[in-house]
């Protein structure tokens, strides 16, 4: 559906994207994930046409659109700020693209009301100013506006970043449901790993203008291709040389293990470390422990079963299985 081939983007002397290659399938929810300034939004803006690459090609449905003007690409966008026109009503916001395309008035009305129903906006809300809507409603208006012209692709640039945590989780689910209902190819930009993991069919992890890994959430999380991805996605324990030595891991590699893979006071295979609980963080669903095992302090997540709760100062045994360790050559540090 969408192919980015050897895309290079420069801003003056600064090269923001280095040979980016991505292929997004039709109907897929594809996420660009990475820290600020890694090139994810630049890639998105290259697809939408706001940025012209110095080399490489953007291909959509087999057609090269690299030099096609923005308005002729047939790609809808939901902006980070939603970019709703504040001087227009909700109805006029959604109808804007259709009016520009000189669609007949009656057809505009039908299309606007139809898309509004699909995104759960009432007739009454259509007559309101965008400032009179809640954050979630504004997001639905932005999606309706982007979809009403019937684009082949929809691009979303951190559309949940302005919302509070609770609303963000709610809207995340709604967003995924809407994407499934419309069956539209979606490219989603975020720096929030949890958002990326819960929403996406596949994820491209960006770092310093490169793509570190493309894969499903499971691949990216459990089989991180690089040390950067491993560190960026989820919390992690980096094994100190003494710990690695005790586990018999190679010296010329960096070793990592996810917090939930460490087991406290559980028998089973793996290396066991005796240690003391230094402190804990109570999250309700789970508890995070900081356990000093002599060679280092481990961060461990344990399910809160209400029974096995460890106090600071308590002696515990932490076991790690070698199969849970992700190892990377020491030379492949962050690019």
């Amino acid at each position: 559906m969408i192919e980015l081939k050897d895309i290079v983007v420069r801003f003056g002397d600064f090269e923001a994207l280095h040979n980016i290659n991505v292929e997004v399938k039709e109907g897929e929810f594809f996420t660009f994930l990475g820290p600020s300034g890694c090139g994810k939004t630049t890639t998105l803006r290259t697809i939408t046409g706001f940025i012209e690459p110095v080399s490489g090609r953007v291909i959509v449905a087999g057609e090269d659109i690299t030099r096609v003007p923005i308005e002729k690409r047939n790609i809808g966008i939901v902006f980070q700020s939603y970019a709703l026109f504040p001087t227009m009503t909700v109805y006029d916001n959604i109808a804007f693209g259709l009016k520009v395309k000189k669609v007949k008035k009656q057809e505009i009305d039908e299309k606007v009301r139809a898309i509004a129903r699909k995104v759960d906006l009432s007739d009454e809300q259509l007559q309101k100013a965008v400032s009179q809507l809640s954050g979630g409603q504004q997001q639905r208006v932005a999606i309706a506006r982007a979809l009403v012209t019937g684009p082949a692709i929809i691009c979303m640039d951190e559309p949940l970043s302005n919302l509070d945590a609770k609303l963000r989780v709610g809207l995340r689910n709604e967003l995924k449901k809407m994407q499934r209902d419309f069956g539209i190819t979606t490219i989603y930009v975020t720096h929030d790993q949890e958002e990326a993991l819960t929403l996406s069919d596949r994820i491209a992890v960006f770092n310093n203008g490169y793509i570190e890994q493309i894969g499903t959430p499971n691949e990216v999380y459990n089989h991180s291709a690089t040390e950067f991805v491993c560190n960026f996605i989820g919390d992690i324990n980096r094994l100190e040389p003494a710990t690695a030595e005790k586990m018999g891991l190679p010296e010329d590699e960096n070793h990592f293990v996810r917090l939930e893979r460490l087991r406290v006071n559980q028998t089973g295979e793996g290396t066991v470390f005796e240690g003391t609980v230094i402190s804990s963080e109570y999250y309700g669903l789970y508890i995070k422990y900081f356990i000093d095992v002599g060679t280092q302090v481990f961060k461990v997540i344990e399910k809160n079963d209400g029974v096995n709760i460890y106090e600071a100062g308590e002696r515990v045994a932490v076991s790690i299985s070698r199969t849970d360790v992700m190892s990377y050559p020491a030379a492949t540090v962050e690019q």
Partner: protein
């Protein structure tokens, strides 16, 4: 899905617009800002072909430095008193808990609805040698000097109270921006209210105070209407006098006017440079994320509290007396005004509309009548002509300034951080560096000729052409203010809005007209209204371009201050003057309401008001319907 490739480039209309735009701004900058002012500068050195420094030597040999000194003296005195009064009125209404603060605030803010020549004439009505208050005072103290209200003291007194508008607006905002938690923290650590004021509140106000001080100094040094009407020899009135003089009467009048204008410009540039350097240092910013609203401080010491209340109300009386008296006497007949004794029986609307006969006794004791000689503002041909000309010229200039600036700012934002947009911005700010009088004087001398090719060799100071010259001057002078305000409003446009419109297929023009312009429109209309308001009663430029073809409203009002002739000349000028001031207050008040009241509402608020109105109508209809329903059975029975 359809995807078309970009069409090959045809004749680009936007390129033609760009060329036209660039040519227009070059024409505007060189033709109406730089060249006329350079001509003024050259006049100083070319007035005497044998000695380029002759004008400067003559200037220092004569009494000319006294005009500069007088202006400086006024500016320095005003800095002290305007700051004292300005800070007082803000503290008394916003910081200290003074009873009746709302009413006090209304009184202190009256200078927002009448200023300049209207205000000065208002003060004259009270304090002139036959003014109401002077007349009362003379009755109380027969030996006192009737002419006490003239010269430096009169100008100083009038301008002290006239120039606090900026304090009332900006210092009030600054004090309201203080985080009350900082005050509470200081109080918690043992500081009393006055210690808190000095150590916590004042330091945060210093940047605003500095700006206000510089602006007050510039206002003082460039003062025009008060010195002219109250008789004080300062720079601006002298420039206007010299500009109208001829070499037959005195040496180098035009060149000396030019030199005075340049001296004024140097003062302005130096002060603005200081202000700009100070602003660049940065301001005190509140680091609080949860700012608490300022709570008014009670003055615990009972004596200090009483004194503060007395001070607040004395100031209020000074502010309100001219307003009350002007309104009162605007509705009094000619004899009541002459006798300074208002009464219900003397109530009339003739000062506004209609005419009356004027009866007077000649020196030989004969009673004469001049039919229809007493006339109101809207029935007096002279006044109506002044209002009409000021209305048209001000509206055109205010609109023109807005259009030029909106187009320019749109360009500046589109080409941020590029040299050409910086050049454009600074060229539009250029008139800010120059005193209004220099620009006007330069226009008057430079365009008073048939040799300026780029205005098609037309003498723009000749007959009706002067109106065009006034429009250009008004526009150019208002460009910097319009630029600062409209540019600030463009910052409110989220860049993603433009991207969104582009993505939805809108052209640059459509994006500008449908998305960006509606967002900045309230600010643009506000700038238009404020500029119109300022220009409508503008005095400095009106005085410089004064001619029978360009007699503005301010000049008509000035004529009303001339003594009324016993033989029917200028009859009822005082009544018309008061009515004019009331009219100006009404216009200004309406504009301020439209700008800050109606204009400040966003679409959501407007829709809410509309919905409330609809509900109210429905409720009224419902209230009527049951009556009908109840009425029917009665009629049946």
């Amino acid at each position: 899905m359809s995807m078309r490739k970009a069409a090959p480039r045809k004749l680009d209309i936007s390129l033609l617009w760009k060329i036209f735009g660039a040519a227009f701004f070059v024409y505007l900058f060189f033709g109406f800002m730089l060249l006329p002012c350079l001509n003024t500068l050259s006049q100083v050195f070319t007035a005497n072909p044998d000695d380029p420094l002759a004008v400067i030597k003559f200037f220092f040999a004569g009494n000319m430095p006294s005009f500069v000194w007088n202006s400086l003296k006024l500016a320095i005195a005003l800095v002290v008193t305007v700051n004292v009064v300005g800070v007082s009125i803000v503290l008394l209404t916003e910081y200290f808990d003074i009873k009746g603060a709302k009413i006090l605030r209304l009184g202190y803010m009256t200078t927002l609805i009448y200023s300049g020549v209207a205000l000065v004439t208002g003060y004259l009505f009270l304090y002139d040698n036959d003014g109401i208050i002077t007349s009362w005072l003379v009755k109380l103290f027969p030996d006192m000097d009737k002419n006490w209200f003239s010269g430096f003291n009169a100008v100083w007194f009038t301008m002290t109270f006239a120039c606090t508008s900026n304090h009332a607006l900006f210092l009030r905002n600054a004090i309201r921006g203080i985080d009350y938690n900082t005050v509470e923290a200081a109080r918690n650590m043992g500081a009393g209210p006055f210690k808190v004021l000095l150590k916590v509140v004042f330091p945060t106000l210093i940047p605003t105070m500095f700006s206000l001080t510089v602006m007050t100094f510039i206002t003082g040094i460039c003062a025009m209407s008060a010195p002219t009407l109250l008789g004080f020899d300062s720079i601006n009135p002298e420039i206007v006098r010299l500009a109208g003089s001829s070499t037959a009467d005195e040496a180098f009048p035009q060149a000396r006017a030019a030199l005075l204008s340049i001296i004024l410009a140097i003062f302005t540039i130096v002060l603005l440079a200081i202000l700009s350097a100070y602003e660049r240092k940065g301001h005190y910013l509140s680091v609080s994320k949860t700012k608490a609203k300022l709570v008014k401080q009670k003055i615990n010491n009972p004596i200090a509290n009483v004194l503060a209340h007395i001070y607040a109300y004395v100031l209020w009386i000074i502010y309100m007396t001219p307003v009350v008296m002007i309104i009162l006497f605007a509705f009094q007949n000619h004899s009541a005004i002459n006798l300074k004794s208002p009464s219900l029986d003397s109530f009339t609307l003739v000062n506004f509309v209609g005419t009356q006969d004027y009866e007077y006794m000649t020196s030989r004791g004969k009673l004469r009548t001049r039919v229809g000689s007493i006339s109101g503002v809207f029935s007096n041909q002279d006044t109506i002509a002044g209002i009409r000309i000021s209305f048209i010229l001000s509206a055109l200039a205010a609109a023109l300034a807005c259009v030029i600036v909106v187009v320019a700012v749109n360009y500046i934002f589109k080409h941020k951080n590029k040299l050409r947009s910086t050049v454009l911005e600074y060229s539009l700010l250029f008139p800010w560096l120059l005193p209004t009088i220099l620009i006007c004087y330069s226009y008057r001398t430079f365009f008073n000729s048939n040799d300026v090719w780029y205005v098609f060799n037309q003498n723009l100071y000749y007959r009706e052409n002067v109106r065009l010259l006034i429009i250009i001057a008004y526009t150019v002078v208002k460009l910097p203010f319009a630029l600062r305000m409209i540019k600030a409003s463009f910052y409110a446009i989220d860049e993603e809005l433009e991207d969104a419109a582009k993505n939805l297929g809108a052209s640059g023009l459509r994006t500008f007209l449908k998305v960006k312009l509606p967002i900045v429109l309230p600010s643009v209309l506000a700038v238009f209204a404020l500029n119109f308001n300022a220009l409508f009663t503008e005095y400095d430029m009106g005085a410089t371009f004064h001619s029978s073809y360009g007699k503005t409203y301010a000049m008509v009002i000035q004529n009303m201050t001339y003594e009324e002739g016993r033989d029917g000349y200028n009859v009822n000028a005082t009544g018309r003057r008061n009515a004019s001031t009331v009219f100006i207050m009404g216009v200004s008040g309406a504009i301020l309401y439209l700008v800050y009241g109606v204009g400040a509402r966003d679409l959501g608020e407007r829709l809410e008001i509309r919905a409330r109105r609809r509900k109210r109508l429905q409720a009224m209809k419902l209230r009527l319907t049951p009556h009908k329903a109840k009425a029917e059975p009665h009629t049946r029975s």
